[in-house]
Symmetry: C2
């Protein structure tokens, strides 16, 4: 980021951090922390900056997710996690929707209080191994059988990186169902503006005093900038050099990793 100066790091009061690809690389083995990230989170807390995790994670409840992060050395709490499932539950309640869930087994408890009988919508998350041919056909048949199909997608990421390689994310399966049913999904999670606004409210800092740090050029960087935040792309996680030629989205800066971002931001405080 030297080429652009460090003006982007001024007048900051809070940070929104993406998790997978920024704090750790996820994987079937539970994942591994990215070097320097746990220390960076500790330094953010010690600095007095506010901190909120803004994640599209939908493979676990927030409680299980935080337990995993804490076991990896990240000092974070459930209240510091903004995630799509609770946002989806608010939306379902507001509109009297009863979901059929095509989600990861680990996420199901987030919907415990929601009426799921006689479904009138489909909620799609990163179902991973639950993305079977049978489950996809079942969700499709429910949607195509509705007079006005309602598809709610917990994110629209294209792919993400796990320790054993890249995996298709929920957005790819969302596109499959959108096309088959000729319907447009409602996206809950990044990059939806409403989702970033919830995260900012939970952070307690206005957009112009917050910086989003993520590895996804579109969902993290583009989405946050649309809300008036500054946004950095880390060169960890699913970052690819071709992201730096993205036709639409330009981050306020690139950083090699979270630790470098925090170094620069703390120097400017």
């Amino acid at each position: 980021m030297a080429e652009r100066g460090r003006g982007w790091a001024r007048a900051v009061r809070g940070l929104l951090l993406d998790v997978s690809g920024v704090l750790y690389d996820s994987g079937a083995d539970g994942g591994v922390p990215i070097a320097g990230s746990a220390e960076a989170v500790r330094r953010i807390k010690a600095s007095g900056l506010k901190l909120q995790l803004c994640t599209n994670e939908t493979q676990a409840t927030r409680e299980d997710f935080v337990r995993k992060l804490r076991a990896m050395g990240f000092d974070v709490s459930v209240a510091q996690v903004t995630a799509p499932a609770p946002a989806a539950c608010r939306l379902l309640r507001e509109r009297g929707l009863r979901p059929h869930l095509l989600v990861h087994d680990g996420l199901v408890p987030e919907f415990a209080e929601i009426d799921k009988t006689n479904p009138n919508c489909v909620v799609l998350g990163d179902a991973a191994e639950n993305f079977t041919y049978a489950n996809l056909n079942e969700a499709f048949r429910l949607l195509i059988g509705m007079e006005k199909p309602v598809l709610i997608s917990l994110g629209k990421g294209r792919y993400y990186k796990e320790t054993d390689g890249l995996k298709l994310d929920v957005g790819a399966y969302m596109k499959a169902l959108e096309y088959a049913c000729d319907v447009q999904a409602e996206v809950v999670g990044k990059p939806a503006k409403r989702f970033f606004e919830s995260a900012l409210a939970e952070l307690g800092v206005p957009a112009e005093q917050a910086i989003m740090i993520g590895d996804d050029i579109v969902s993290d960087v583009g989405g946050a900038q649309q809300c008036g935040m500054r946004a950095l792309q880390v060169r960890t996680g699913k970052y690819r050099p071709s992201d730096e030629n993205h036709p639409v989205v330009k981050p306020d800066a690139y950083v090699n990793n979270l630790a470098e971002a925090v170094d620069i931001i703390l120097q400017q405080l």
Copy 2:
């Protein structure tokens, strides 16, 4: 079709027939003939009209497909089947492409003569049970790892009907991979113009003297009309009443089934 008259049935020398949803309803049990369709095929042959099956079937080789149709009472030969896999093989050879196949086990022999080492493209068919999370991730990783990803899709149908219900078709999975890899698939099969032109060449009749009969408003009817053919939609197979309000495609006529179409066409000869 009474409301539009029967002018559409005049000056016909050959028929292109879609198969699944027109001749029979497919299914895990092998499928069941649609009432009157086998007799209709016999009457077409007896009339002297030329006949070619124009199918996006990619779950079996043409030989196995014809064997199944003959066992159901349809008097057809392998030469009378225009299908995507042989068209894809021609394209692969022309361009020196070596495919990774994500297709139904039953289709693999169609690619026996094609070099599949060190793949530089992905060929996607209606893989059905082979549409697993692992196989989709594998195809995705190969594509995203290519400097210029090449995705060849054997059709782009949204869904089809089997005896046990509607199933997502290859088009839905094509859209998933297109989105994840930010690439546009090349479609071999209906509704590609080149594919209909091959079918007409095999039929031996010019477009203006041929009628396409299918249950898919876009792939069958729209595709054939784009090539200058007349096209009928049958109210069998995956036909849905809402097709009759399609914003773009209007068939030359609707018929209740193949038998009715053949009745009218033969009366006009």
